[in-house]
């Protein structure tokens, strides 16, 4: 081929024609479906036998196809005729570039709306957006010069925005509005109807209630996620008035708000760009809060919220501060922070400590090999090595008392970790491909590869004096990310990597900045603006987000029936009265029932059983039952041993369980239920009854 100018111009016009023709097609589909909506013609339908009638799918596809072909060629002809004198013009592409870019963006938005409409059952927000985009796209065509002027004005205004701090402030307010649910009752109702507070009870509420009712953690009652998190979060809930589900949920929400605001401020400080920081925070919120692993509702899974690793952002900020300033206070702060994290939650704390050690190692090599310091001079670094452990143990001692230094405590603390490592509940990393979830699988592989590559490249680059010292921060970040990634390694459920991929977003933002720094300023700004709008759009149009009960609440579902149901079903006054009437306030109460945590909280009694909660709650009137916690023979033996040893006078049990009113399959499947009920039948007899509970009294002399 020769004559590159005309070829380029013709290609430009062809692309423009195709864009316009698809625009036109979308409009045609809209108009035709409005004027001649698809309907089943009885005359055609009745010609077919009943079993074939379902195969009749009338559609306008042929018409649309032909229309599209004809319109594309016609538009091309018109464009060529219109630009016939400019086909040799060097500037044609330049003149059309902005218009085409806008056309492409509008087309993308239109198709995106169509996609959402088809996929998610015509949500009203998608239709609304569709019409807005459609109207805007036609306004743009008609008033293109004015549109350009307006766009230029806005662009230059944004570029020279006189109050950059105001932008930060606006974004922080936006983040609060984004995360904070306006209807807490609806959230609770959704959690209650979604999983019966199963995750909430298992993660925090049971241990929190046990802790504040005077049980010794990991001695009297199991504490799966760490004393630190239990004591601190429940303490905050108590500070808000009382330990209950609503306050605990509010604590999680406030933590998330504070965490993401901190993330934004950190990104802003680190990357020194409003746009990059905003993109990073939008992606982080989208990935962390609105991924399918936490469907249908983020707060149903408190163990997948940022409360797991709430201190990491401050730890990372301190590391960055030390890298930038070499301030010894920053290093001490990071040491303290990692120690607090270790006490707060064992696994995420460990990863922070590992990241801290990685940083210490880098410092050591830097001083020895680059700065040529004497080895002896590095001995103080050992203090930082033991620092986090000492801090963590001190905190645990303050919260947990002297039992923290007992062997039993640590054995019990790691009991469920051992079960987990044995493979209980784990999913192989290739699980996603065997289920055809290729995207999830490749993302799962991609994340550690990015971490490793970043760490290798930047660390090597620094020691070979090819990259800046500040990039060492990404090495620490990657090491921390690799640690958090263990969450996905053992349990490779689709999208579960999103629960722990905030460091990944940060690393991506770092690379984005690095790559974009090579581009011309105008192009860089354009790309960043595009990325900003795309990430914001991706967040706001995420199906989970549209159902999230914040001020935006795009899907506007009706939560009233849920709230009514929650109010009716989630109070156990009679059960609490029954327990209260038969036990003293200091007594530990043996309760085998759904919602045992709430019932004991209402009765103000501490739990008797070590494995608390014992059951996976279900609505009291449902014929469903699960025993997720007493899942090993050792645990069963321990539970029976507790009863045999303490011989409690009364045990409270859900009537349907004791009286064998459940389907037989449950008794056959859940051996632990059968054993428990056999034991109770052998040693206890019915004594009194509440609404759902039976009070069983021990047979024979006590």
């Amino acid at each position: 081929m020769n004559s590159p100018i005309i070829i380029r111009n013709i290609i430009t016009l062809a692309v423009l024609s195709l864009l316009e023709s698809i625009h036109f097609l979308v409009l045609t589909v809209l108009v035709v479906n409005y004027w001649r909506p698809l309907k089943y013609d009885p005359a055609v339908w009745n010609k077919y036998f009943p079993f074939l009638q379902s195969a009749i799918r009338p559609n306008h596809d042929f018409f649309f196809y032909h229309w599209w072909l004809v319109s594309a060629i016609a538009i091309q002809a018109v464009l060529v005729w219109y630009f016939r004198r400019s086909l040799q013009d060097h500037q044609l592409l330049r003149r059309l570039r902005a218009f085409m870019l806008n056309e492409a963006i509008f087309l993308f938005l239109l198709l995106f709306c169509v996609f959402k409409i088809i996929l998610w059952g015509s949500p009203s927000w998608a239709w609304c957006l569709f019409y807005v985009v459609l109207v805007l796209s036609w306004v743009m065509r008609i008033f293109w010069p004015e549109f350009c002027k307006c766009g230029t004005f806005i662009y230059s205004f944004l570029q020279r925005f006189p109050y950059p701090k105001l932008l930060d402030g606006m974004l922080i307010v936006f983040l609060v509005l984004l995360i904070y649910p306006t209807d807490i009752k609806a959230c609770l109702a959704r959690m209650f109807t979604g999983d019966y507070f199963y995750q909430m009870d298992g993660f925090i509420m049971s241990a929190a209630w046990a802790f504040w009712s005077g049980c010794v953690m990991n001695i009297d009652v199991i504490c799966m996620y760490g004393i630190g998190i239990t004591a601190s979060l429940s303490g905050l809930a108590k500070l808000m008035g009382a330990l209950n589900y609503q306050n605990m949920l509010l604590v999680f929400i406030y933590i998330a708000v504070a965490y993401f605001i901190s993330c934004y401020l950190f990104l802003r400080w680190w990357l020194n760009s409003f746009l990059l920081a905003s993109i990073g925070i939008f992606l982080a919120i989208k990935f962390q809060m609105f991924h399918w692993g936490v469907a249908p509702f983020y707060w149903n899974f408190p163990n997948a919220t940022v409360a797991r690793y709430v201190f990491d952002i401050y730890f990372l900020a301190l590391i960055l501060a030390h890298i930038r300033s070499r301030s010894v206070w920053a290093l001490r702060g990071a040491c303290l922070c990692s120690g607090i994290s270790l006490a707060y939650m064992m696994d995420t704390g460990t990863y922070q400590v590992m990241a801290f050690y990685a940083y210490l190692l880098i410092l050591f090599f830097e001083r020895v090999y680059i700065e040529k310091s004497a080895l002896k001079g590095q001995i103080p670094l050992l203090g930082y090595v033991v620092g986090p452990v000492i801090i963590a143990l001190s905190i645990l001692r303050i919260i947990g008392g002297s039992t923290v230094f007992s062997r039993v405590y640590w054995h019990n603390a790691f009991e469920h970790v051992q079960i987990f490592l044995n493979g209980m509940g784990s999913l192989p990393i290739y699980q996603n491909i065997s289920e055809g979830d290729f995207f999830a699988f490749f993302m799962g592989l991609f994340i550690p590869l990015v971490y490793l590559f970043s760490a290798l490249y930047l660390a090597s680059g620094y020691f070979l004096k090819q990259t800046r010292r500040e990039n060492l921060f990404v090495v620490v970040l990657s090491v921390y990310g690799l640690g958090l990634y263990h969450y996905f390694v053992n349990r490779s459920a689709p999208f579960s990597y999103h629960a722990v991929d905030i460091p990944f977003v940060f690393v991506l933002m770092f690379w984005a900045r690095k790559i974009l720094s090579k581009a011309a300023p105008k192009l860089r700004h354009g790309i960043l603006m595009g990325m900003f709008l795309a990430s914001l759009g991706a967040l706001l149009t995420n199906p989970l987000f549209t159902y999230y009960p914040n001020v935006f609440n795009l899907a506007r579902p009706d939560w009233i029936p849920y709230k009514q149901f929650y109010s009716q079903e989630f109070h156990f006054e009679k059960e609490a009265q029954l327990i209260d009437s038969l036990t003293s306030p200091q007594e530990a109460v043996g309760l085998i029932s759904s919602f045992d945590v709430e019932i004991l909280m209402e009765a103000k009694r501490k739990p008797f059983f070590y494995y608390f909660p014992m059951l996976h709650s279900h609505f009291m009137n449902e014929d469903i039952f699960e025993v997720p916690y007493v899942n090993t023979q050792a645990r069963m033996a321990k539970t029976l041993g507790q009863m045999e040893q303490a011989k409690p006078k009364y045990v409270f049990v859900e009537a349907k369980l004791f009286r064998g009113l459940l389907s037989r399959q449950y008794y056959e499947h859940f051996v632990s239920l059968r054993i428990l009920m056999d034991y109770l039948h052998e040693h206890y007899e019915e004594y009194a009854q509440g609404r759902y509970l039976l009070a069983l009294r021990r047979k024979g002399p006590l």
Partner: protein, 724 residues
């Protein structure tokens, strides 16, 4: 590439390889695996940075390292691919496991003997790239690839293939072709005496072609179709070679074409199970484009007339693809008139315009002429055209169509994107090349691509109407050709070295894609690694229930759906699965035994005259009529979808609408045949209630027969019903 990037990427590659080694030899917990991986990466990086910096300064070392990285990357891709197959085929992982071991051995050998491998690769590439070897290599590649196509498509054991087809879908799709072909050979006229769903010519071509191979039967027809495919793909190779020239590019196009057209999931287990999905649909198109290309190059008028003739043959062969090819021919004629270069070349002669008009007119006339040759005066009757349009009308009314949005509903986003990309590429090509040709900015021979694109847009109707996941594969060959054309144009802008390397890499990738496709591995050609490709779980496709395809459609019927006894008066249904066969010979023996209706053929023979039309209402009616050497009676043949004769259920209805039943009953009322041969199971007095919904029209027909006819004589499966 600097040392840090090189060592980082290499460390990651080597660590993943090491990880796969470790995982292969022991069931290690995910945590440990992960830690090993991280440790390998860090150690690898440290080692590289420790050992390499000085040597990295040498240009030769950097070159060799880059090649090493490339080879290791390829080996890793192969390892990951084998691991992927191991996961996907966890129920029959033998083949993937062997592949994984083989690649692992290669990976180890590559590391140990890298010096030698490096030397060999450099030598090999130099040999390939040496201009002095070009002619010989091209000749060798041409001959070799044509032979490869023949061996690749050819099926040595047609008998075994027919056996599996019989036992997997009871020739359901085949009989839609066999019945009209048999009808034609016995003197029935398509669309007059017997329906032909796909066109006027296909029954004739199949019937006559099969006879030429030794007689009209299932196996000969199968071999005919195999040869049709071989000839088509060889012709496609010749066409692409003469058009695109580049041997590696043409081989890439052919390999992708073979893979997408013959080995996609929509035609599992075997492309020949569905004759309508074979290149038989569009057999004449490749020759047509060869003629167009020849005409563009040489200007020989004969080639234009040949193209016109081929489009006529295409229409005669199959209605829809014929229309598209005729459309493409008219587009070509229009382009000759529009494009200044072509106008100057072809229309400057005296009478040239008249000749063009003649070409245009001769196409419909030719089609009519061929129709007339087959159906005679009926060509000019309304009935003939109504019958021909019957299926199209149903289709346009929405019967069997799938809307475009369906792909999104089922989250088939790749299919949806491909479905959109195909016409976009066609349209963009038409727009760009059309204008460039018009303004003489490129050579007028590029008009071929425009014609190809128009034809592709025509074929794309298949996908528009039926947007099933794999529908675009069926008519995807022109798309592949056009994409390869653009690939060539892109590669022309690169240096000779880069182009050669790119083509070599793409060609290796195409071979890899072809040979790692399970359908290719299961295909019973001479390359098949099993001696029993029909039943050996090492190669056979697992099927939706992972039990293979044998009798898969009939396992779903429960007790409530079944009658007490079958046509033989027995309870045993012989519903075997793939596991019941240890060799293809067993499969063939069962096929020979079960697909023989000589007793029923004798029954028909004894009660009807040789020229009489025989109404048979049974599974495998076509085969019975063939054995009895009688012509079919019903216009809608086959009237039923066959089920195994020993099953205790009624055959399913193959008719679609109430109009079909009316027509069949009218035939019986008007012609009043003395005997109707009916499957004995249809004499059952009571049937399960579900039959009222599933086979209501069959029940009406059976009632009609039983009211007017009575059992007269019994064969093995059939009963001769005599008019009262």
């Amino acid at each position: 590439m600097n040392l840090i990037i090189f060592s980082s990427i290499l460390s990651l590659i080597e660590a993943i390889q090491a990880l796969l080694f470790v995982r292969l030899w022991g069931d290690i917990s995910p945590f440990v695996t992960f830690l090993i991986f991280v440790a390998f990466v860090i150690l690898g990086q440290c080692a590289a940075l420790w050992l390499l910096p000085r040597r990295w300064e040498q240009e030769s070392f950097r070159k060799s390292s880059r090649l090493y990285l490339y080879v290791e990357g390829v080996l890793l891709a192969l390892l990951l691919s084998a691991s992927y197959k191991l996961v996907i085929y966890d129920f029959q992982p033998q083949l993937a496991h062997r592949g994984l071991i083989a690649v692992m051995v290669l990976a180890v050998l590559n590391k140990i003997f890298w010096k030698q491998v490096n030397g060999f690769l450099i030598l090999f590439y130099a040999f390939l790239a040496d201009p002095a070897n070009k002619t010989a290599l091209s000749l060798l590649a041409d001959a070799g690839f044509v032979v490869f196509i023949a061996f690749f498509i050819y099926v040595p054991d047609a008998h075994a293939v027919m056996a599996r087809m019989f036992l997997s879908d009871d020739f359901h799709h085949w009989d839609l072709f066999m019945a009209p072909a048999w009808g034609y050979l016995k003197g029935c006229l398509p669309y007059v005496d017997i329906i032909s769903q796909y066109g006027v010519g296909i029954p004739l071509e199949m019937g006559v072609g099969s006879r030429l191979l030794g007689g009209f039967n299932y196996e000969n027809l199968f071999m005919l179709l195999v040869w049709v495919c071989i000839i088509y793909y060889v012709a496609a190779y010749v066409f692409l070679r003469s058009w695109l020239k580049s041997v590696p590019l043409v081989i890439i196009a052919m390999l992708i074409g073979l893979k997408t057209q013959m080995f996609h999931t929509g035609i599992a287990p075997f492309v020949f199970t569905y004759p309508s999905c074979l290149v038989l649909r569009n057999f004449w198109d490749v020759l047509f484009f060869l003629c167009i290309w020849g005409h563009l190059l040489t200007g020989r008028r004969l080639l234009l007339w040949a193209a016109a003739l081929l489009s006529v043959l295409a229409e005669f062969n199959l209605v829809d693809t014929g229309v598209y090819l005729i459309g493409a021919f008219y587009v070509y004629l229009i382009l000759i008139c529009l494009m200044p270069d072509l106008r100057e070349r072809f229309l400057m002669r005296r009478w040239a315009w008249v000749e063009m008009a003649g070409c245009a007119i001769c196409v419909p006339l030719g089609v009519l002429g061929l129709f007339y040759a087959v159906v005679g005066q009926h060509t000019f009757t309304k009935l003939f055209w109504d019958n021909m349009a019957e299926y199209i009308v149903y289709f346009l009314a929405g019967h069997g169509t799938v809307p475009y949005s369906e792909s999104f509903h089922y989250h088939f986003f790749w299919a949806a994107a491909m479905g959109l990309a195909v016409p976009l590429v066609y349209l963009a090509s038409i727009m760009i090349l059309g204008l460039l040709c018009y303004w003489r900015k490129i050579h007028a021979s590029h008009v071929l691509v425009i014609v190809l694109c128009f034809y592709g847009l025509g074929l794309y109707h298949y996908y528009v109407a039926r947007t099933a996941v794999t529908s675009y594969y069926v008519s995807g060959l022109p798309f592949i050709f056009v994409v390869c054309f653009w690939l060539q144009k892109c590669l022309e802008r690169t240096s000779d070295q880069v182009r050669k390397k790119m083509l070599l890499s793409l060609s290796l990738f195409a071979w890899f894609c072809l040979w790692t496709n399970h359908q290719v591995l299961a295909y019973p050609n001479i390359f098949n690694i099993s001696r029993n490709p029909m039943v050996d779980p090492l190669v056979t496709l697992p099927g939706p229930e992972r039990t293979g395809y044998i009798n898969i459609m009939f396992m779903k019927y429960g007790k409530d759906y079944k009658l007490p006894i079958n046509s033989l008066g027995e309870k045993d249904e012989w519903l075997f699965t793939q596991k019941d066969f240890t060799s293809d010979d067993e499969l063939k023996a069962l096929y020979d035994h079960e697909f023989n209706f000589s007793e029923d053929a004798q029954l028909i023979d004894s009660l009807t005259g040789p020229n009489e039309k025989v109404p048979v209402l049974s599974s495998f009616e076509t085969k019975m009529e063939m054995q009895a050497d009688r012509k079919p009676f019903f216009y809608f043949s086959p009237f039923l979808s066959s089920v195994p004769m020993r099953m205790r259920i009624f055959p399913a209805e193959a008719v679609h609408s109430a109009a079909y039943l009316k027509k069949t009953l009218r035939q019986l009322r008007e012609e009043k045949p003395s005997y109707i041969f009916m499957e004995r199971i249809l004499l059952s007095q009571t049937v399960p209630p579900a039959y009222q919904d599933d086979v209501p029209r069959l029940l009406v027909l059976v009632k009609y027969i039983r009211d007017l006819y009575e059992p007269f004589k019994y064969g093995k499966y059939l009963v001769a019903m005599k008019r009262k």
